[in-house]
């Protein structure tokens, strides 16, 4: 069982506690000065009351036990504690040397040196969602809650009920944001925390944006982060979106990313999971216009008792579009994984091309993967395929390498690295690709741990927090 048995709650008890929290603390939640937000929270609250929290009896959570997520001892901060701090003093990101607009969220709150919201020369707005609620109510009203499925999933409605802060990006029409925007989510707490960041990204017509989203934890303490991102791509917009995660084994991170694509837009979405206790990545793509392209890639490298759940859904509601899912994973030790990929081609969405591929390597007999590719097609002129493989390293390649004098261990690493590189090489920003390559290489040699980026250098042993998630 988890580190502190007494603290875990049944889903219904957790739900009750959340309902009570909202009813009692409603007035204290920031952002309520705005009627729009308040209305959205109330709607979400009504949905939350109707919806069930995730449990293993639900099809979508069959292979991931969410119960360890629900605890009675979480600290939930309604007031930001980190508004004006110099982030570089507590955390330096050595992952990327590329030039970015870098912003940081600490425990779900936007951290800034000068201003919580900056407007670039070209009109692009980058900053705190909390602040944006105040300054740009029109944009917020138009987009916030417009893509996320608030009425369908309890964790999405829960996030909407309590959302406070997160990343806000608005790229005006015809603007190509030169530098990538990098957002670093840091969890730093000595007590168990429950965080619900909310991100809203809007790419105007003919705009271009590269967004790198990194999740880190600074301590080995228990945390549950329930992130919801809404990303809107208008006509001809191009978004390169990366999510990189290297978190402690006591952290649970459920990230739900909702994308809406209008005509001729292009989305590259790459989800890289290197470390984490319990990780669930939900990618929900809704293609609303013709001639869209979406590359949905994922890589997961898990070991020990880590658990990864990737759930990808591509909804084609317009003709002549293309989506391609490629998820690859290597699972070592007792690690476990889930891939559920779904493609829905709605009536009238002719000439859809939708592909899905999930490939896995299991390095031990105890490592597990449950993979479920799924196609649902209501149009007759489409090209769709799905495939899943689970295997070991190619014995012929192993022998070939060993016959050249390469020892077994190195040969294995080279092959694993090669397996992963199919996903890594799809990264279009060279410095980012190089860095991810290095990270993957380090990870596969067993050299990358959460402590790599951790300035605390504590000597804590990695506890087996997530062991029972598999039970």
């Amino acid at each position: 069982m988890i580190a502190n048995n007494n603290s875990s709650l049944k889903p219904h008890a957790f739900k009750k506690a959340m309902i009570a929290l909202f009813e009692n603390k409603h007035d204290q939640i920031p952002g309520n000065s705005s009627d729009i937000i308040d209305k959205l929270r109330q709607i979400a609250f009504e949905h939350f009351k109707q919806l069930e929290l995730p449990s293993k009896t639900m099809e979508s959570w069959r292979f991931t036990n969410p119960e360890p997520l629900f605890r009675d001892d979480y600290i939930i901060d309604f007031e930001s504690k980190f508004q004006k701090i110099d982030v570089s003093k507590i955390f330096t990101c050595d992952v990327y040397d590329l030039d970015t607009y870098c912003v940081t969220l600490i425990n779900g709150w936007f951290a800034y040196k000068n201003s919580p919201l900056s407007c670039l020369k070209d009109g692009t707005i980058i900053g705190s969602l909390y602040k944006a609620m105040e300054i740009y109510p029109d944009i917020i009203e138009k987009y916030l809650g417009s893509v996320a499925k608030i009425s369908e999933q309890s964790l999405i409605s829960l996030n909407t009920v309590f959302m406070q802060d997160g990343l806000f990006i608005y790229v005006p029409d015809n603007v190509k944001v030169e530098k990538p925007v990098q957002v670093i989510n840091i969890v730093d707490s000595d007590k168990p925390v429950f965080l619900q960041p909310r991100n809203l990204i809007i790419a105007g017509k003919n705009s271009k944006l590269t967004l790198v989203h990194c999740d880190h934890s600074l301590t080995h303490n228990i945390s549950f982060t329930n992130t919801v991102s809404e990303v809107i791509l208008h006509k001809n917009a191009f978004i390169d979106h990366y999510k990189v995660q290297n978190k402690g084994r006591n952290s649970a991170l459920v990230t739900s990313m909702f994308f809406r694509q209008e005509q001729n837009s292009t989305l590259n979405n790459n989800v890289m999971t290197l470390n984490g206790g319990l990780t669930r990545n939900q990618v929900d793509l809704s293609i609303k216009g013709e001639n869209c392209t979406a590359e949905l890639n994922g890589l997961y490298l898990m070991d020990k008792y880590q658990h990864i759940d990737n759930s990808v859904f591509a909804d084609h509601a317009a003709p002549n579009s293309r989506s391609n899912q490629l998820y690859k994973g290597i699972l070592d030790d007792q690690a476990s994984g889930v891939f559920s990929g779904k493609v829905l081609v709605r009536r009238g969405s002719q000439n859809t091309m939708a592909f899905q591929n999930n490939k896995n390597i299991l390095l031990t007999d105890e490592a597990k993967i449950n993979t479920q590719p799924f196609l649902e097609i209501y149009a007759d002129d489409v090209k769709c395929s799905h495939g899943a493989t689970v295997g070991q390293l190619d014995p012929n390649a192993m022998f070939y390498m060993r016959s050249r004098g390469i020892c077994e261990r190195t040969a294995r690493q080279l092959l694993m690295y090669a397996f992963a590189s199919e996903v890594v090489k799809k990264i279009s920003i060279e410095p980012l690709k190089d860095n991810i390559n290095k990270l993957v290489e380090k990870r596969l040699k067993g050299e990358l741990s959460i402590c790599d980026q951790c300035i605390l250098n504590c000597s804590s042993k990695e506890p087996r927090f997530v062991q029972n998630i598999l039970d």
């Binding site: 190619d394 014995p395 012929n396 390649a397 022998f399 070939y400 390498m401 060993r402 016959s403 050249r404 004098g405 390469i406 020892c407 077994e408 190195t410 040969a411 080279l414 092959l415 690295y417 090669a418 397996f419 992963a420 590189s421 199919e422």
Partner: protein, 249 residues
């Protein structure tokens, strides 16, 4: 250098090698010929160290050591090289990374400093020239997208880099056009030294127009049924394997 005595090997309970004897000394080139399915590749794999078969009986000694106890990577470091009949494609592993890793593991074994990236690239260019290979190898994955000829030439190139004491070339000539065949033959001849040896496994006499073997052996039904000088290859070419089959029945 290599001594094989009464070697019996089976794969999934089927006896493939049925008491094979072979002696290879430094400076020699041996050609092993024979029809398909007689155990030629199995012999190559036993020497290189594949483990998906069972040695039922016999011994294989190399430089005085029992070869069968040694893992394949150690055999390579001791100077054994197998040129594969079907070189394996390894998508995602670059040729440079692959061979530099191999060279540096060998150098480590010999207590030499590892080669830097630049030093290795220089060595690669030298060896490419030596064996007259024009293919671009850097930035490409191991054998991925290589034509049949390129794959075989790549085996010779790897051999040039690793400078083996004992090279076994398993059907390296099969499927090659005459130009590629010359490149392969030239490589073997260029790399020939007084203190190394080569075993050429081939189906046809064609390659032996360019590489002159000291000995020719005919492998049939898991045993070497006939040995001789280079004339034996011509005789085989002329009379065909039926001649051997009939003789041995």
């Amino acid at each position: 250098m290599l001594s094989i005595k009464n070697l019996k090997v089976s794969i999934e309970d089927k006896l493939i090698l049925k008491g094979l004897n072979l002696e290879v000394k430094e400076g020699e080139i041996h050609a092993i010929m024979g029809p398909n399915g007689t155990g030629k590749s199995t012999l190559a794999w036993v020497i290189a160290g594949r483990n998906d078969f069972t040695v039922e009986q016999g011994e294989v000694t190399y430089m005085g050591k029992n070869l069968l106890d040694i893992p394949p990577e150690a055999r390579s470091k001791e100077g054994i090289f197998l040129g594969f009949q079907y070189p394996v494609e390894i998508p995602g592993v670059s040729m440079t990374n692959f061979m530099r890793t191999a060279i540096n593991e060998k150098r480590k074994h010999l207590d030499l400093k590892p080669l830097s990236g630049a030093e290795f690239l220089k060595l690669m260019e030298e060896k490419k020239k030596l064996v007259k290979i024009q293919s671009k190898l850097t930035d490409r994955s191991v054998n991925e997208g290589f034509s049949g000829g390129e794959k075989k030439k790549n085996e010779i190139f790897q051999m040039a880099l690793l400078e083996p004491k004992l090279a076994i070339l398993d059907e390296t000539d099969s499927g090659l056009d005459i130009d590629a065949l010359k490149v392969v033959a030239n490589g073997v001849n260029m790399l020939r030294r007084k203190d190394n040896a080569t075993i050429i496994i081939t189906h046809y006499q064609r390659l032996l127009d360019y590489i002159i073997p000291d000995f020719v052996h005919v492998l049939f039904d898991g045993m070497i049924v006939k040995s001789g000088g280079k004339e034996l290859a011509f005789e085989l070419e002329e009379k065909g394997y039926e001649w051997i089959k009939n003789k041995s029945e």
